[in-house]
Amino acid sequence: MKLKDIEKEEFYRASYGCAGCAAVLAVRLTIKVLGKNSVYVVPANCISTVSCYYPQAPFFVPFTVMAFAATASACSGISAGFKRRGREDIHVVGFSGDGGTADIGIQALSGAIDCGNKFIYICYDNEAYMNTGIQRSGLTPYGATTTTTPSPCFENRPKKDMLRIVAAHDIPYAATACSSYPLDYMEKVKKASQVNGPTYIHILTPCPTGWGFPPDETIEIGRMAVESGVWKLTEFENGEFRTTYTPKRSRPVSEYLAAQARFRHLSPEQVAAIQKEIDAARD
């Protein structure tokens, strides 16, 4: 896929999202790949909040707002309905946040993958419940401050590995992506749309409001996350994990941590411990 081949028409415009929001960028890129022949299911998350100010509907494709825990089951049901009507060419996409995937919606996701209906489940991961005021979620990384884990007693549990949880269901296709690598992400969405079965894509979307950095650094922070080894771009297919992008240069994790206000309280020893963990995972 090349930049000039991408659809020029915009299908997601003028949302109430914060300036520099990567989740809005992820929605925009997704609809560009799948085109008008797609249906979206959005639970309670940032995307439904910034989209649904009645009568505002910035999606230029059909979409519905679903209960928090029911994104994947709604996708599965809509997909089964389309199959019954002989419209298997329509892509059903669930667009859920990290809390709606890893905490509240994980049971529905597990069940829907087990059912085997064709849908794409996209988890945009901004590492906390950003929409309701930056509360800790299961995907908040070690060391981050949120409003429920404030500075002296910061988040002390590691991030859940959602890709491995989903891969354990023997899913036909699963992948991780980052909003700073749009072509890599769009190729993964394209690949997922061609699979006849449930697919899962986990995209890291830096959040200027919750992570504490200026809005113009959104893309740079995502790039730092991949180059420092905090986030990896991989895909799972035919029972095997494969790295899709290896960064050309590697950066120390301290650069990534120093760029964000949520890691400001970490001592040099704690940063060294995080670096040691990443180095161990890399080898």
């Binding site: 930049l3 000039k4 991408i6 020029k8 915009e10 997601y12 415009r13 003028a14 949302s15 109430y16 999202g17 300036a19 520099g20 929001c21 990567a22 809005v24 960028l25 925009r28 890129l29 100010y53 009645y54 009568p55 505002q56 509907a57 910035p58 999606f59 230029f60 494709v61 059909p62 979409f63 749009p182 200027p208 200026p214 809005p215 113009d216 650094e217 959104t218 893309i219 740079e220």
Partner: protein, 90 residues
């Protein structure tokens, strides 16, 4: 013809945009330097406020959608885009 059933609750037609977000920005991007048509600004713009002119291939900014986040300025490889402050907002 069969009459369509009305759906209860607030339902909007897809693609209804009564308000524009351009009023949020305190600065706006302006193309000043040499554009190499790489389209990095276009693909990274979260709002889809950048489009390419078909005639001379240069990028143009839609200030009705632009929130002034400055990602295009930051990501331009030739540093051709500059942020210009807007007096008292718009």
């Amino acid at each position: 013809m069969k009459k369509e059933k009305s759906i209860p609750g607030p339902v909007s037609k897809a693609g209804t945009i009564p308000t524009r977000m351009g009023t949020w920005s305190t600065a706006k991007p302006v193309l000043k330097g040499k554009c190499t048509f790489c389209l990095f600004c276009w693909v990274f713009c979260p709002e889809g406020a950048i489009s390419q002119d078909e005639a001379n291939r240069k990028v143009t900014f839609n200030f009705e959608d632009c929130k002034g986040c400055g990602i295009c300025v930051r990501e331009c490889p030739t540093k051709a885009i500059e942020m210009v402050e807007v007096e008292g907002g718009r």
